[in-house]
Amino acid sequence: MHIPDPFMPIWQGGIYWIIALIFIILALKWARNELTEDKIPMVAVLSAGIFAIQAFNLPVGFGTSGHLVGGALVAILLGSPYAAVFVLTLVLIIQGIIFGDGGLTTMGANILTMGVIGGFIGYSSYQGLHRATKSVYLSAAIAAWLACFIAALACAVMMWLAGTFPLVPGLAAMGLYHAIIGIVEGAITAGAIYLLLQARPEFSEMVTGASST
C-alpha cells in the first residue's frame, strides 16, 4: 500500500504531508505524555518488527501479494491511535528514505493511510468490538482487517484524486485485494498480540481495559 512518488502530483503530496504533520505533532505529544521506561521497549520492538514484516510479501491469490500494515496492532497494544501514527511514521520514513519503499512526496499520504487511518480505525473498532464480544483476539483480528481494508479504500480515493486510478475500478481492485490481505493482517495481529502479551503481561491491562487516547 506504499504509494510511490510517480503515483501522485507533488502538490497533492504536499497537502497530505501538511495534514499528516498535524497527526505527527499529536503523536509526538502522545510520546511525551504517555511513554514510560516500560513502554519504550515495546514501541522499539514493534517498530523493528513492523519494519521487518512489511518486507515480507505473502501470496494472497490473483497474482497479488500483501504484507502486514501494523497500525491496528500498535494502537491496540499501546492503547492509543497516536502510538500507531508514531511507529508507522518512523517506519515509513526509514522505508522511504533508505529503501525507496514508498515515495518521499507521497510519504504524508502513506502516513495518513497506514498510520492515521490504520491506527484510528484499528483502535476504535477494537474498542467497540471488545466491549461487545469480550474477546481480545477476535476483536483484534476483525479490527486489523477493517483497518487494512478501509486504509486501502482511502488509498484508492487518493489515487483517483491524483488521476492515477479511475474511481470505481480502483476501489474494486484495492478493496478486493486488501480484503484478502486483511485476513492475513487480522491473523498476524491476533497472533502477535498473544505472543507480546506472553512476554509482557503488564500490557494486558492496556489491551483489555483502558481506553485512553
Binding site: P6, P9, F51, S65, A173, Y177
Partner: protein, 110 residues
C-alpha cells in the same frame, strides 16, 4: 521479561522475520501495484499477473528519488545474503530510532 531482554529477543525475532522474508516472500506485485495493473488493463481483477506486466508511471510533474538500497537490495549485488543484510540493517535502524526518540520524549517529560 526485563526490558533489555525483551528488546534483544524482539530484535532477533524481527531480524529472523526479515531473513525468512528474503527467502520465501512472494514476487507478485502488492495490492496497490496489482490494482495499478488492473486499472491500466494489464491484469484481470481475478487473474494472475502476466510476467511481462509493467506499471506505466507518470513522470511529468512527479518527484523522483534514488534511495541507497532500492527495494531492500544492494542494487543488483550481494544476492540473497545482501538482501537479508539490508533488511536486518533497516530493522536495527527502526529499533534504535524508536529507542532514541522514546528516551528523548522521556527526558523532556522529566
Amino acid at each position: 521479561m526485563k526490558n533489555q531482554q525483551f528488546i534483544i529477543i524482539g530484535l532477533v525475532f524481527a531480524i529472523l522475520i526479515g531473513i525468512v522474508a528474503v527467502v520465501v516472500a512472494s514476487g507478485d506485485p502488492d495490492g496497490l501495484e496489482s490494482s495499478a495493473l488492473v486499472v491500466q488493463g494489464q491484469k484481470m481483477l481475478f487473474g494472475d499477473t502476466p510476467e511481462d506486466a509493467e506499471i506505466h508511471e507518470e513522470e511529468e510533474g512527479r518527484f523522483s528519488y534514488e534511495s541507497p538500497f532500492p527495494d531492500y537490495t544492494l542494487g543488483g549485488e550481494g544476492g540473497t545474503a545482501g538482501e537479508a543484510a539490508v533488511i536486518a540493517l533497516g530493522t536495527i535502524i527502526a529499533l534504535i530510532l524508536a529507542l532514541a526518540i522514546g528516551k528523548m520524549a522521556l527526558a523532556k517529560k522529566s
